[in-house]
Amino acid sequence: MTPRSTRVALMVGAPVLALVAAFLITSIVLTVAGDPAVDVWTQILSVPQSRNVANIINSATVYYLSGLAVAIGFRMNLFNIGVDGQYRLAAFVAAYVAGEAWVPSYLNTVLAIVAAVMVGAAWAGIAGLLRVTRGVSEVISTIMLNAISTSLVAFLLRQAAVDVQGSNNIGTKPIPRGSWIPGISVGSGPGTEVYGFIVIAALLGIGYSVLLNRTRFGFDLRATGHSEPAAVASGISVRRMVLVSMLLSGAVAGTVGLPILFGDAHSYGVTFQSGLGFAGIAIALLGRNHPVGIALGALLFAYLDEQANPLQILLNVSPYIVKITQGTIVLTVVIAYEVVRRYGVRLEQRQVARALEVRGSDSAAKAPA
C-alpha cells in the first residue's frame, strides 16, 4: 500500500470502526437489560417507507443547521453549547414577527428569517462579549444563557400568546398561509413532502464551505483555531475573531427552528421542539466540522431517531436506546480518529526509519571503497 492510500483507508476506517463499536456497545446494553437485541436491530435497519424517508430528511435538515452552527464555533476552538437557547428564542421571535404579518406574502417570510438570524446572533453575542471583555468561558456562559432563554421565552410567550384552538396550549398567532414555505414532494401519498427550507440549509452549507476555505476571514478563523499565538503573530485580532465567529454561529443557530416553523408548526407554542442544539454538538463532532460530514451525521441521527420510533409499540423496548447509540457514536468517533491518527503517525515513523536504514546501510557499504 502506498502511503497516500493507507491514509485514505485510515480516514474511512475510523468512522466505520466507531459505528461498529457503537453497534456492539448498544447490543451489549440491550442484551444485559434483557431486551431482544436482534429484533431491535432488525427494526432499526429495515428499509424505511417513503413517509419515513420524508421524516428522516426533515429532521436531518434541522439537525444539519444545528450542527453547522456548532461547527462554526468549533473551527475557532469555541464551544457554542448555547445553540439550544439561541434557536428557541430566535424561533419564537420569527414566529411572532411572521404571525403579526406586518408585510405581505414572502416579504413577511424574509423579514421573519432576518429577525431570527439577528436574535440568534445577538443571544450568542452576549457570550462572545463576555468572553472577550471579561474572560468568561463560553462553555459556562452559553449553558447559563440556555436556561435564561427558557424563562425568557416562557415570559414573552405569555405576553404575545393567543389560545390555540382545541387545546389548553398557548402559542403565537399562526403564520398566514401566504408566508409558509412550501414543501418539496419526495414520494406519493400524504406526509411525503420535505421542508422547502432544505434549499436554504443547503445554501448555508455551501456558504460555510466557501467562507472557511476561500476567504481571508475563513483563513484567519482556521488559523486562530489551530494556533492562537501564530494567529496573533500574523496580525489577526483574536478578540475580534472570537466575537465575529460567535455572532456567525448564533446567526446560523437562529435558523435551526425555522424549517419546522415555516413548514410544519406555523406558530410557536409550548410544545415547540427543544433540545436540537445538543444534538447539533454531537453531529458537528461526528461530521468533523465538514459540511458534507455534518450532513451525513445529521442523516444518521435522524435515521436512528425515526427507525427507533415504533420500537415501543412493536417490541415494548424504549426508543431511548438509540440515544445510547448516538452518544456512544460521538465518543467512539473521536476515539477512533485519535487511535487511527496515532497508528498513522507510528506507520509513518516506521517508514521513515526503514528508508533511513536502507540509505544508512548503503552509505556504510560504500564507505570502505
Partner: protein, 420 residues
C-alpha cells in the same frame, strides 16, 4: 528574585492571609452575609429572604451543587476538564433511584456513587487513555447518561407500583437530625424580627433542623478534600499533574494513574450529588431531576477559584438563588434587585478608582438599571425569578473571572513520555 525586588511586601502578605484559619474565614464571611441580608430584610420588608425555612432549603439546594463542584475540583486539579459532571450526576440520580428502591436508602447512596464513578471512568479512559478533547468527551457522556438513564428507567420502573417511564417509586428516607431543644427557642427568637439577632437565630435554626446524614457526609467530604489535596503528598502529586504533568512525570509521578484516580473520584462525587437530589432533596428518581445543576456546580467551582473554601461559598450563593425564587419568589427576588444595584454601584466606585473606566461604566449602567427596576415595580414576574440562579452565575463570573487562576495544564491533553 526579581518579583521580590518589585514587590517586597507581596510574599509576607500572602503568608499572613494564608495563616488565617479557614473555619474562621468561613464564619466571618457568613456573618458578613447575614448582616447584609438583615439590613436588606429590614429595608425591604421581604421577610422570606432569610427565614429559617429559606436557609434550611438553601442548604438542601447547595449540597448537590457543592458536591458536583467538588467533583469538578478533583478532576480539574488533576488537569482534566469535566463538563460531563451533569451526565455523571444524572447517572447518580438513577443509581439512587434503582438501588434505593430495590435495596434500601444506603444502598441507593452506594449505587449513586458507583454509577457516577462509572461515568468518571468512561471520561478518564477517553481523555487520559485516548487523549480525546475533554469537552468533547464530557458532552458525549452527558448525551449517553441522559439517554441511558431514560432507557433504563423505562425498563426498571414502568409497571412497578408508584413508578413509571420517567420516575422511580418512593425511596426510603435516610435518617435526619433535628435538635428540637435548640430549634424551638431559635424559632421563637426568629419570630421577634429583631435586627441581626433574629436573622442569626434563623440561620442556626435553619441549619440545625432536618439535617440529613448525607448533608453531614457532604460537609465532611469538603473538609476531607481540602485535607487530602492540600495537606498530603498524594494531593500534592495529584495537583502537580494539573499544573505541569511533564514536571510531575520527570519526578517519577505516574501521571496517568493520578489522573485516572482523580477523574473516577470526580465522577463518584458528582454521582453522590445526584443521589442527594433523589434521596434527600426529593424522594425518588425523576427524569430531568438535575436541571443543569452539574453545570452550575462547575460554575461554582470556577467562582471559588478552584479551591474548596471558595467553592463552598459559590455553592451557597447558587443554592440560595435557586431557593429564594421558590420562597415568595416575586417579593424576595425583588428585594435582591436592591442588593444587586447597591453592590454594582460600589463596584463602579471601586473600578473607577482603579482607572477601569469601561468596567465602571458597565457596572454603573447595570446597577442603575437594577435600581430603577427595583423602584418602579413591587414584584418580579414569575418567569424572571426562575432565571435568578443563571443570571447570578453570569453576573458573578463576569465580575470575578479575571481574578481567577485555573490549574496551568487544565484541559490540556497529555501523553505519557512527552517529558522526553
Amino acid at each position: 528574585m526579581s518579583t521580590r525586588i518589585d514587590r517586597p511586601d507581596a510574599a509576607p502578605r500572602q503568608r499572613a492571609r494564608r495563616s488565617l484559619p479557614l473555619a474562621y474565614l468561613v464564619l466571618l464571611g457568613l456573618l458578613g452575609v447575614m448582616v447584609v441580608l438583615s439590613v436588606l430584610r429590614t429595608v425591604t420588608g421581604a421577610e422570606d429572604i432569610d427565614s429559617s425555612g429559606t436557609l434550611s432549603a438553601t442548604l438542601v439546594a447547595a449540597v448537590p451543587i457543592g458536591l458536583a463542584g467538588l467533583g469538578g475540583l478533583w478532576s480539574e486539579r488533576a488537569g482534566v476538564v469535566n463538563i460531563g459532571l451533569e451526565g455523571m450526576m444524572i447517572l447518580g440520580t438513577f443509581g439512587a433511584g434503582y438501588f434505593g428502591y430495590f435495596y434500601g436508602a444506603w444502598q441507593g447512596v452506594i449505587g449513586a456513587l458507583a454509577l457516577g464513578a462509572l461515568g468518571g471512568l468512561i471520561h478518564a479512559v477517553a481523555t487520559v487513555g485516548f487523549g480525546v478533547d475533554h469537552i468533547v468527551s464530557g458532552v458525549a457522556i452527558n448525551i449517553i447518561a441522559l439517554g441511558g438513564t431514560q432507557y433504563l428507567a423505562a425498563l426498571s420502573f414502568s409497571g412497578v407500583p408508584g413508578g413509571g417511564q420517567t420516575q422511580s417509586p418512593t425511596i426510603d428516607e435516610l435518617p435526619a437530625i433535628t435538635l428540637t431543644f435548640l430549634t424551638d427557642p431559635l424559632k421563637t427568637l426568629e419570630g421577634k424580627h429583631l435586627f441581626l439577632v433574629s436573622d442569626l437565630a434563623a440561620l442556626l435554626g435553619g441549619l440545625l433542623s432536618q439535617l440529613s446524614v448525607l448533608t453531614i457526609i457532604a460537609l465532611a467530604l469538603f473538609v476531607g478534600t481540602w485535607f487530602v489535596l492540600w495537606r498530603t503528598s498524594f494531593g500534592l502529586r495529584l495537583r502537580s499533574c494539573g499544573e505541569s504533568p511533564v514536571a510531575a512525570e520527570s519526578l517519577g509521578v505516574n501521571v496517568y494513574r493520578y489522573k485516572y484516580v482523580a477523574v473516577v473520584i470526580s465522577g463518584a462525587l458528582a454521582g453522590l450529588a445526584g443521589g442527594f437530589l433523589a434521596i434527600v432533596a426529593s424522594s425518588n428518581y425523576r427524569d430531568g431531576q438535575t436541571g443543569g445543576r452539574g453545570y452550575i456546580g462547575l460554575a461554582a467551582m470556577i467562582f471559588g477559584n478552584w479551591r474548596p473554601g471558595g467553592l463552598l461559598a459559590g455553592a451557597g450563593l447558587f443554592g440560595y438563588t435557586d431557593t429564594v425564587r421558590l420562597r415568595s419568589g416575586g417579593q424576595s427576588v425583588h428585594a435582591l434587585l436592591l442588593l444587586v444595584a447597591v453592590l454594582l454601584l460600589v463596584m463602579t466606585v471601586w473600578q473607577f478608582r482603579r482607572a477601569q473606566r469601561v468596567g465602571a461604566g458597565i457596572s454603573l449602567v447595570i446597577g442603575v438599571a437594577a435600581g430603577v427596576w427595583y423602584l418602579l415595580s413591587s414584584e418580579v414576574p414569575g418567569d424572571f425569578t426562575g432565571m435568578t440562579p443563571y443570571v447570578t452565575t453570569l453576573l458573578v463570573l463576569a465580575l470575578a473571572s479575571q481574578r481567577l487562576r485555573m490549574p496551568a495544564a487544565d484541559g490540556v491533553p497529555y501523553r505519557r513520555g512527552s517529558a522526553g
